[in-house]
Structures are given as C-alpha cells and as structure tokens.
C-alpha cells in the first residue's frame, strides 16, 4: 500500500494509481467549478480514500499483522497502551521544567501529552531556552506522540499539500510547524523524537545514524537504511522522516518513527503531486512523495527505550543522562502558552506562509496570493479576500 511521504515525512498516494484513477474520475465527474455542488466535490476529494479501502492488497513484509487489523482495533490498542504506560510517572512541574531547561546539562524529556500544540510548543520552549556555551554539553532529547493530525513545514502552501475538508471530516487537526520540510501525518502509533544540539555540532545525519545503529544492534536482520535525504527506510519504504530548525547558535533535528500507525487511515489526507484542473505556481517547499511503512517494533515504547539506552551509552564516562516526564496539566508556562496560541492562530496557519499563484483551469482563472490574501485575481470581487474564505466556496481547493 503505501503511499508516500514527503520532504519532511508525508504520506501520499502513489502516482501510478493516481494517474489511472484520474482517468475514470474525469469521465464521471467533470470539473465544474461554477457550480456549488458540494457533494460532487466531496466525492472527488474522497476518491483517494475510497479507491484504497476495499480489497487493497497490502504488502508489509515486516508488519503485516498490525496493518490488517481493523482500523478501530488498532486505534484502541494504541490508546490502551498509552493509558497503561502513562500511569505512575513522576511528572515535573513548570518550575522544575524551567530550571532543568535553563541550566546546562543533558537530559531526556518525555511528554505524556498527546496534544500536538502543547508538544510542539514544549519542544520550542526547550530549544529556545537551552543555554549555549563554547563547550556545549546541553544536548536534549525529547519524545512525544500526537493525536491524529497533519503537520506541514513552515514554508509550505497548505492548500497545495493538504485535503483540508477530509481532515476536518475525519477529525485530524491541521498544523503548521516551526521547522522546515514537508507534510506528514501523525497518530498515536507514531513516535516523534527531537534532538537539540549546538549549531556548531549540528549535522543533519548525526542522530539518524545513531538511531539506525541502535536499532540494528538489537535487530541485526532489520533491513534499515538511511537514504540520501536523511530518511530512515525499511526495505526501501520510509519509516522515519526528519525536519530541522537552526536558530540562535542551536539546532534541532526532529523526526517521526512509524511503529503502529494506522496507515490505512492516512490516505486522502495529503494531496498528490497533481490534481486535475488546478495548476499551482508556488515557490514554497514541496513535499517529496515516498512509500511508507511501520517499523516492526513491539510498541512505540520499545523505540523510546532503544533510543534512551543508546543515548545514555553514548556518554560512557559522564553521569547517566536522566529521563524526565511532563504533561500540560502541570508543566506549562506563559512561553509555552504563547506558542500554543500562535500555532493555533489563523494568522500563523493561513496568513503567514509563502506567496503563491494558482490557475483554475475551469474558466481559466488566475489568482495571486500574498500572506493569505488575494492580491490579484481574474475573478471579479475576489481581490482583498482571504484565500481561506475564497477556498471555502471552491471545494476543489480544499
């Protein structure tokens, strides 16, 4: 099955299937943008989902069992494991978090929250307040899981990357993150790691090389590789993708690891390279489509344990790197709240991205958008409108 992933880590439809599908679709559902027939466009948008759902032949040599489980069952298992494992951790307070982050030294921090806004804001807080010194030894390693959401890179165009209507209908949050890279789908079967280091030491491949080494150490037969984009692949399918941010003398590398993700459900969330009837002219960052798979580990916790042990053993002469736990009920402060507000705001999600132009072939219309506002358009009365509002009357764009 498997569909694609992007620059950062996205999941997409294989182009081969998209092409064949377009053909039949065009026959059934001609593009007619002048009609406001929502149902018709919804059916088009859902096409990517529907065409995979029945009788889809899955080839996941390492994880066939999990994948064949029913959708609900897998989600339930993930949730149960989550609840089971999150009992009995000592969670640090806001003050403890602040002291920990601002003083020098290495640590591992696991967020027990599954709120993607909190987790991204927590990551930003730790990153921003990590002290920088000539001899840097304040590396931080974070782990978090997010509830169902689709996350795009900060320099991407949301309407080009994401089926916003499908996200809304299926309860996936749409998020624009603070780092670069492409679009990716998160669920509770996916574990996110974030490695914070100094800009001087920063090397895109450093941490993923370690991850591959640790995994192969435990499972010598696991056919893992690091590809030229720094993604981790299993039998050529992407199991982990990465994105990076560099600021104020520091850098972080965060990545995903698909362990027990419900890959079936990812379909129809991220847009394919091309959708008939629309031509985008964007300078924004494009997602790179890749086939994805789950890594055959027992649970996301196994991945965390392998990484934490590996990381602790990376410093054999130092004190053991401590592991802390937190969640948003206590470890929250004004900085984190402000970042959450920013990430949730329409201003950030829809009015801050790259400028772009889109040609709507039906009617031969051209629309130019800057900071989310239509600045030039061949459709009368649309200049000055937000593209967000405009797109709601053109379901083809959603």
């Amino acid at each position: 099955m498997s569909l694609l992933v992007s620059k950062g880590l996205s999941l997409r439809l294989p182009s081969r299937i998209v092409v064949s599908c377009h053909r039949s679709l065009v026959q059934q559902t001609p593009f007619d943008l002048d009609e406001g027939d929502d149902e018709k466009y919804r059916s088009f948008n859902n096409m990517y989902v529907d065409m995979f759902t029945p009788g889809n032949d899955l080839k996941a040599p390492f994880n066939g069992k999990e994948v064949r489980k029913s959708v609900n069952e897998l989600d339930e298992i993930n949730q149960e494991i989550d609840q089971l494992y999150n009992v009995g951790y000592h969670k640090i307070t806001a003050l403890e978090l602040e002291n920990l982050v601002k003083r020098e030294g290495r640590f591992v921090l696991r967020s027990l929250s599954t709120d993607p806004y909190y987790n991204l804001a927590l990551e930003d807080y730790v990153f921003s307040h990590t002290p920088i010194s000539d001899r840097f030894f304040s590396h931080r390693l974070l782990f978090y899981k997010n509830d169902n959401c689709v996350v795009i890179g900060k320099n991407q165009t949301v309407w080009k990357e994401v089926f916003l209507n499908n996200l809304a209908q299926r309860g996936y949050e749409f998020i624009r993150r603070l780092s670069g890279g492409g679009a990716v789908v998160h669920d509770l079967g996916n574990i996110n790691y974030s490695f914070i280091t100094s800009r001087k030491e920063f090397d895109r491949e450093f941490f993923n090389k370690l991850i591959v080494k640790w995994l192969i150490n435990k499972y010598p037969d696991m056919p893992l590789q690091l590809n030229s984009r720094g993604d981790i692949t299993l039998n050529g399918n992407k199991v982990s993708g990465s994105a990076f941010k560099i600021a104020k003398g520091k850098a972080y590398h965060h990545g995903t690891m698909l362990v027990q993700s419900n890959l079936e459900k990812f379909k129809g969330l991220l847009k394919p390279d091309h959708i008939d009837g629309l031509r985008w002219n964007c300078n924004s960052v494009e997602s790179v489509r890749s086939k994805v798979a789950n890594i055959p580990l027992r649970a996301v916790h196994e991945f965390i344990d392998i990484c934490v042990t590996g990381w602790q053993n990376h410093f054999p002469l130092a004190n053991k790197v401590p592991v802390y736990y937190c969640d948003q009920s206590v470890a929250i402060n004004d900085d984190i709240k402000n970042t959450i507000s920013k990430l949730k705001s329409d201003e950030w999600k829809y009015f801050s991205g790259p400028n772009f132009c889109v040609k709507i072939e039906q009617g031969n219309h051209d629309i130019s958008v800057q900071k989310g506002i239509i600045v030039d358009s061949t459709i009368p009365g649309t200049v000055g409108m937000s593209f967000k509002d405009f797109s709601s009357s053109f379901p083809k764009l959603l």
Partner: protein, 167 residues
C-alpha cells in the same frame, strides 16, 4: 588602477587574505555597488551573517558563504516585510534548505527598507552568490555612527579567524 591605489594604502598581507577569502563581499553586486566607491564598512557576526554599510546609513544584509555552504541548496527564503523595525539580534527571515529552516538575525537595529524579491523565484542565489546577488534585505541603520563600537560585529579577518578556531 583601483587595485594599485589600494595596494599603496593597505597592508599587502591583508589584501592577499581578502583575495583568497570566499566570505568577502562580491564587488559586482548591489550590496557593493550601491555606493560608487563601495560600502563604508563590511561586518560579520558569529551567527554567520554579514552587513555592508554605506555612508548614507543604508546597509545590506545576508548570510556568509560559510553558512550557505553548511546549509546546502536553498529551497525557500522567507523574506522580511518592508518597514519592519527590528532590534539587533531579532530574526528578520529564514532560509530553508534540505528540510532545515535556518533563522537569520539583524546584526544591528534598524528598519527594513526592501527585501530581495529575486530570492522568491531564485532561492539558489543564496548559494551561488551569498555575499552579492544573494543579499536578503536592505535596511536603514538606526544608529549608523555607532557601528564601529557595536558589540558582536567582526571584521572579515576576525570572522575568518573565528571559523578557523572552530574547526
């Protein structure tokens, strides 16, 4: 003729360092040619940014060759808004390359007068000519007279030396 005049007034050793340096300002692009005689000062920061100041208080900003090489192929440059007032050390944009978003900072306080819009369609200018056509912003320096005394601004020689020390 110009270089001969320079040789007479400047230590020859310094010239040879400049000639070899890849982090020197391109002499053929706007950040240099904005004034007929070139900029009055070129400064660098330890965050790998450069600033070319001209006698009318205008300055051009960008990232160094060292930074551009380290980042790899630029795929997108986030440009600043005109008329934004920024303090020294504030981020005014970012460069994305190979999935990395790298923030760029104002070396001095000032107001953004213009962003280099060529970078929208040609982000690769950041790699091909980071100290020339790949300039990111033109600013009006808030206090042009205090440039020499401002902390954290390095000469080309100091910057190059800091790179060597880091190796």
């Amino acid at each position: 003729m110009f270089s001969r005049a320079l040789l007479r007034t400047v230590n020859p050793l310094r010239i040879s360092i400049r000639a070899q340096s890849t982090n020197a300002l391109s002499k053929t692009a706007l950040p240099f040619t904005y004034s007929p005689s070139g900029p009055s000062a070129v400064k660098y920061t330890n965050q790998h940014e450069w600033l070319a100041a001209h006698s009318d208080g205008t300055a051009f900003l960008g990232i160094t060759k060292y930074a551009a090489d380290a980042l790899g192929d630029a795929t997108y440059v986030e440009l600043p808004e005109k008329e934004t007032q920024l303090e020294a050390g504030e981020a005014y944009g970012s460069v994305e390359s190979v999935k990395s978003a790298s923030e760029v900072y104002q070396p001095v306080s000032g107001e953004i007068m213009e962003a280099n819009n060529n970078l929208e369609s040609q982000p690769q200018l950041i790699n091909t000519d980071p100290l020339g056509d790949g300039w990111i912003a033109r600013i009006k320096i808030a206090e042009p007279d205090s440039l020499e005394s401002q902390e954290g601004l390095l000469s080309l020689e100091q910057y190059e030396r800091s790179l060597k020390e880091d190796e």
